[in-house]
């Protein structure tokens, strides 16, 4: 009798147009009803060949393209690239420019994390916190617009400094905003992060042990969510991060197992708080002075290569540059956090519910353009 009752796994396409894949990513999942047996991520739908574009534009001209690598954290992407070129040229960035870079970068980190946690909330069906968090992000966009005139693709960092100086009264505005922001975000956490339904959805789901996280080359908040205290800003300090006082939050298994979705989510929540701390310090310490080092009009780095690592909201982002002494890079390679996060999905998405897969994607904070570049 039982031999006649054959069941079949159904193969479902999740994506490329699916509300919770955060862009165009496709997952081919084999499910037995609600339970996933196999999940095969299919990436590349948003590949725009940015690395190749680099070979045909000037060194300075590539900065606006780095905006497009990770549209949620353009400032940080600008920063990584500019730093790489500066290292090649041996340019010393003025101190004020470094402070401005940290301010802009941390503001952008906050706004990126707001989207990350907001989108995770929305995947869990809580739409109000998402919209409210986006409202806060909108204020940050306003602030960033004040300093560079654009809201999403900033192109603010230049090789050797930043393009514009801070406008008048900027630090007062940021301080005022932070006072509002801390309270408002805490309230949103009371609305969703500490909500029991939400905790039940995220806790104990898809736990990644520290060893596994390192095996799969996790970076950034995902790695720290598994309890590994590694942050490029601390472990290999660049810019002025060694002068600043901030903590590196790690996953603590506060409600579930170590490295589960909730830990990864909560690390981002904590990082927002740390970023606020950094911003306050920077705004108090920022010196007067130049914002742009002297660089030649036509930049021609010497022949050689350089790999630079920075901590962007999606983790350890690296720019490898090979120069043959011409006006444009000979080869440029971008290493991003989303891609390593993506590679663990087939492993994690085994014997979990479809709804959990959504939670996993949300908690890994995968951004499609950064994944495919």
């Amino acid at each position: 009798m039982t031999s006649e009752l054959k069941t079949e796994h159904i193969t479902i396409n999740m994506g490329p147009q699916h509300p919770s894949t955060h862009g165009v990513i496709r997952f081919v999942i084999k499910t037995d009803g609600e339970i996933i047996h196999e999940c095969d991520p299919d990436v590349g739908y948003l590949h725009r060949g940015i690395e190749k574009i680099a070979e045909s534009v000037t060194w300075q001209g590539f900065v606006p393209f780095t905006d497009r690598v990770d549209y949620l954290a353009s400032m940080n992407a600008n920063w990584a690239y500019c730093m790489a070129v500066e290292e090649m040229l041996g340019t010393e960035v003025p101190e004020r420019a470094e402070y401005i870079r940290v301010i802009a970068g941390e503001l952008n980190r906050i706004s990126s994390h707001l989207v990350a946690i907001g989108a995770a909330d929305m995947d869990m069906g809580a739409i109000t916190p998402f919209v409210q968090l986006l409202r806060e992000r909108e204020y940050i966009n306003d602030l960033l617009e004040m300093i560079c005139g654009a809201r999403l693709t900033y192109n603010y960092y230049s090789i050797g400094g930043v393009n514009y100086d801070l406008p008048e009264g900027f630090s007062i505005k940021v301080m005022g905003f932070l006072d509002h922001f801390e309270v408002a975000v805490e309230q949103m956490h009371r609305l969703v992060t500490y909500n029991q339904i939400f905790i039940n959805r995220f806790a104990n789901v898809a736990a990644v042990s520290p060893e596994m996280a390192m095996d799969y080359n996790f970076v950034g908040p995902n790695l720290r969510g598994s309890g590994v205290k590694y942050d490029v800003r601390r472990n290999k300090p660049y810019s002025i991060y060694d002068k600043l006082d901030f903590e590196i939050p790690i996953g603590t298994a506060s409600v579930g197992t170590l490295g589960d979705c909730y830990d990864r989510y909560f690390v981002r929540v904590e990082e927002i708080r740390e970023s606020v701390k950094i911003l306050r310090q920077c705004l108090q310490q920022i010196p007067e002075g130049e914002i742009q080092a002297k660089v030649k009009n036509a930049i021609k780095p010497p022949v050689g290569h350089k790999y630079i690592r920075t901590e962007t909201p999606r983790g350890d982002t690296g720019y490898f540059i090979y120069s043959d002494g011409k006006t444009s890079p000979s080869r440029l390679k971008i290493r991003t956090g989303s891609f390593t996060g993506m590679s663990i999905i087939p492993e994690l998405a085994r014997n979990i519910f479809i709804a959990d897969l959504v939670a996993v994607i949300g908690s890994l904070d995968i951004v499609a353009p950064e994944l495919d570049r």
Partner: protein, 385 residues
């Protein structure tokens, strides 16, 4: 009736048919209007909760938005996906709508006289007829030839079937109090004062009210139980493939369901259309009271939707079987024991109900305090300008 038989010379049968048709039209019109307005209200409320406006373009404050939506949907092409089970696919939306509409037969829009039919097994009818919706949803999921829809349909079947039980169990408590299965008798067993309502009679009936409300949310597929249509998981669940008029019908059934949740909760637990003694029988006032309470419950339903995240399917089942069902049973047994005790000491009924109501009031005061603090926190200026 007399008018029809005497002056128009109809037979009694035809007169009945005519009256039936008129009543049906009225009920359907109220239902359609309410579901339209609910869809508008939902968007406005959601908007305000999210610091936006919601629809405010069509008509004053956007109230005609639902008309515009309906017109748009009717004008759209009625697509039937390739490989769909055409007959089932076509019939399904009406089945869903029917399941929802048929419930209205035993629910009063106003006082007891304003029921379509005061069946003597009204509560049983109410419980059973709501299950027709699940067949509709299951069929929609199956016939669409879409795996996401199928999953949605399956979820919905599992969900509605398991939530029937706590709902039915929790309804035993008001039935015990009224001693009847007729909705009319349930209305009559409650007074107009809040502590005379079934919900605040005893701690047990309060518990039953709680269980019933959560259960009917789940049966109406509302967040946090909107798994069958879970937008971020199943795209749009069972109605993914529907378009045009058929989708409009689904839409109407969905929002009509919110109206029904309000109506049934009000009628069964919140005192229905009861008025103070000297106003008894005033039809307009009783409709007004009934509608006010219904609208309030509908507001709560919408408010919950825009507050809470969604359950996962296994947690949903856990909630039903491990939490709500025991609660409903406790409510039932507790109420039975309480009634036995109250039979000996009649004064206890009055006292308990007032105590329960006072406890409820205290909770509300605390709640309003929280709202005030949160409002103050939200009003901290940003100072960008």
């Amino acid at each position: 009736m007399n008018l029809l038989t005497d002056t128009l010379g109809m037979t009694e049968f035809w007169a009945n048919v005519v009256i039936m048709l008129i009543v049906c039209t009225i009920v359907f019109a109220v239902f359609a209007l309410m579901s339209g307005i609910t869809s508008w209200a939902e968007r406005r409320i959601a908007g305000r909760m999210q610091s936006r406006y919601g629809c405010n373009r069509v008509g004053p404050q956007g109230i005609l938005q639902f008309v515009a939506d309906a017109v748009k949907l009717i004008l759209k092409e009625d697509l039937i996906p390739d490989g769909a089970d055409r007959f089932l696919y076509k019939i399904t939306p009406y089945l869903c709508l029917m399941g929802v509409l048929a419930t209205l037969v035993v629910l009063p829009l106003g006082s007891r006289a304003m029921m379509v039919a005061d069946l003597n097994v009204g509560v049983l009818y109410f419980i059973s007829i709501t299950s027709i919706v699940v067949i509709g949803i299951l069929m929609a999921g199956w016939s669409s030839n879409n795996k996401w829809s199928l999953l949605g349909g399956m979820r919905s079947a599992a969900q509605i079937v398991s939530y029937e039980i706590p709902v039915a169990m929790s309804l035993l408590t008001p039935i015990l109090i009224a001693g009847s299965l007729s909705v009319g008798d349930l209305l009559d067993s409650q007074g107009w004062l809040p502590w005379e309502w079934t919900a605040f009679q005893t701690p047990f009936s309060a518990l039953a009210f709680f269980v019933f409300f959560i259960g009917s949310l789940a049966e109406g597929n509302r967040t946090p139980f909107d798994l069958p249509e879970a937008e971020s998981e199943l795209v749009s669940g069972f109605n993914t493939e529907y378009s045009g008029f058929r989708f409009a019908v689904f839409f109407m059934a969905e929002y009509g369901n919110v109206f029904l949740i309000g109506l049934s909760t009000t009628a069964l637990f919140l005192g229905g259309p009861n008025l103070p003694g000297f106003l008894q029988g005033n039809p307009f006032l009783s409709v007004a009271v009934m509608m006010l309470k219904t609208i309030f419950i509908m507001f709560v339903v919408i408010w919950l939707r825009w507050t809470l995240p969604r359950f996962r399917i296994d947690q949903l089942m856990d909630l039903s079987w491990k939490y709500l069902l025991p609660c409903a049973l406790i409510a039932f047994f507790g109420q039975s024991v309480f009634m036995l005790v109250a039979h000996q000491i009649p004064a206890i009924t009055q006292i308990t109900s007032i105590v329960v109501f006072i406890v409820f009031l205290l909770i509300m005061i605390k709640f309003i305090g929280r709202i005030r603090t949160n409002y103050k926190e939200q009003s901290i200026p940003v100072g960008l300008n």
